[in-house]
Symmetry: C2
Subunit: 208 residues, 2 copies
C-alpha cells in the first residue's frame, strides 16, 4: 500500500503547487486541492494535517535541495570564480526546473505561520550566508572588488531567482546559455571602460 | 464634495494595497477592503466598479510613473553610463518608496483579466524596451560588452526590483548607497581579474 500512499501525497503536493501559484495560498481552498488531486476533501487529512503543512513541505523540499547543493559546491570548489559560477548555475538550474515551486517560495513567505516561518526563514538565511561566504572570501583574496557583501549577495540571488519568471524551456536560449550570460554579467559587469582606458594608455605610450 | 470623494478613493486604494500585498489579490474580499477604508461595503461601488478595477489602478499608476520617468531620462541623458545609472536610480527609488505596490505588480499579473492584462503587459513591455534601448545603444557605441540585450535587461530589472523586498527605510543603508552599490555591480561586475592581468602585463613589460 505504501507506494500508492506516496503517490497520492505527490498528487496532492502537485495540486497544491498548481493552485498556490495560480491563485495564491490564501485563495486556494483545501477542497479544491483535494478535487484536483482526485481525492475526497475529507481524505486529504490522512496525508496532510493542514493547508499550512502543504505550503511548508513545498518550501522546505526545494529550499533544502538548493541549500545542500550549494553546500556541496563550497566543499568541492575553492577558487572564488569557480564557486561563483557554480552557485549561479545551481540557483538558475533549480529555479528554471521548479518554476512554480520557487514562485511560491518567493511570494508566500508572508503566509507562513509561527514556528514554520522561523524555520523557513532560517533556511533562507543559511543560503544567504553561504553566498556571502563566497563573496567575502573572494574579496579577501583580492579576486572580487571590495563591496557591501550583504547587498551584493541579495543582488545575485535576485538576479538568478527572477530567471524563473521569464524562462521558457524550449525557448530561444538553453538553461546553460542563460547561466553563461548571467555569470558574465555578474563577474564582468556591462562596462568596457577599464579596457578602453588601458587601450588608450597603450596607444598613448606607443605615441610617446 | 470632490476633494472628499477623491480622498475616499485614496483611502480605498490604500486599503486595497494593504490587503492585496498581505493576503494576495484573490484572498482579499472587497468587503474587507471597504471595512479597512471605513466605508460601507455597498458604497465602495460608487468609487470603484470592481476589485479588478482597484488592481488595475494600483498597477497602472505606478507603472506609468516608472515609465514616464525613464522616458524623461532617455531624453535628458545621452551617455550610456549616465543613462544606465539614472535608470537604476529611478527603478530603485520608486521600488523602495512604493514597496507594497510594486510587490503587487510583481506577483499579481496572474490576476489581471482580459483587456486589462493586455494593457498592463504592454506597459511592462514598453519599460523593458526602453531598458533594452539603453543597452543596445551602449553596446553599439562600444561602451558596454556585447551581450544578449533581452536577458541583460531582465537581469537589471530583476536586480533593482528585488531591492523592495529587503530594503528598510532608516536601516543600515540609504537609498542612494544602495543605488551606488548596484550601479557599481551592474557596470563593473564583481571580478578584479582584468585589472590583475593588466598589472601582470605591466609588471612583465617592466621586467623585459
Amino acid at each position: 500500500m505504501q507506494p500508492e500512499g506516496r503517490s497520492m501525497r505527490e498528487n496532492i503536493l502537485a495540486a497544491a503547487v498548481q493552485l498556490f501559484s495560480e491563485y495564491g495560498y490564501h485563495a486556494a481552498p483545501l477542497r479544491d486541492i483535494a478535487r484536483l488531486a482526485g481525492i475526497q476533501a475529507a481524505s486529504i487529512y490522512h496525508h496532510y494535517p493542514s493547508k499550512q503543512a502543504l505550503l511548508v513541505e513545498i518550501m522546505e523540499k526545494h529550499m533544502q535541495q538548493l541549500n545542500s547543493k550549494l553546500e556541496r559546491i563550497l566543499h568541492e570548489y575553492h577558487d572564488p570564480l569557480d564557486r561563483l559560477r557554480e552557485a549561479i548555475a545551481n540557483h538558475i538550474r533549480l529555479h528554471t526546473s521548479n518554476k512554480a515551486e520557487f514562485f511560491i517560495i518567493d511570494t508566500e513567505l508572508r503566509a507562513l505561520e509561527g514556528e514554520h516561518r522561523t524555520r523557513i526563514i532560517a533556511m533562507r538565511d543559511t543560503y544567504d550566508a553561504m553566498i556571502q561566504e563566497i563573496l567575502r572570501d573572494g574579496m579577501e583574496r583580492g579576486v572580487f572588488h571590495p563591496s557591501d557583501v550583504k547587498v551584493t549577495s541579495y543582488a545575485i540571488i535576485a538576479l538568478c531567482t527572477q530567471v524563473s519568471s521569464w524562462f521558457r524551456p524550449g525557448g530561444r536560449l538553453s538553461v546553460q546559455q542563460v547561466i553563461d550570460i548571467y555569470y558574465q554579467m555578474v563577474s564582468q559587469g556591462l562596462v568596457r571602460v577599464p579596457e578602453h582606458k588601458d587601450e588608450q594608455k597603450r596607444e598613448e605610450s606607443v605615441r610617446t
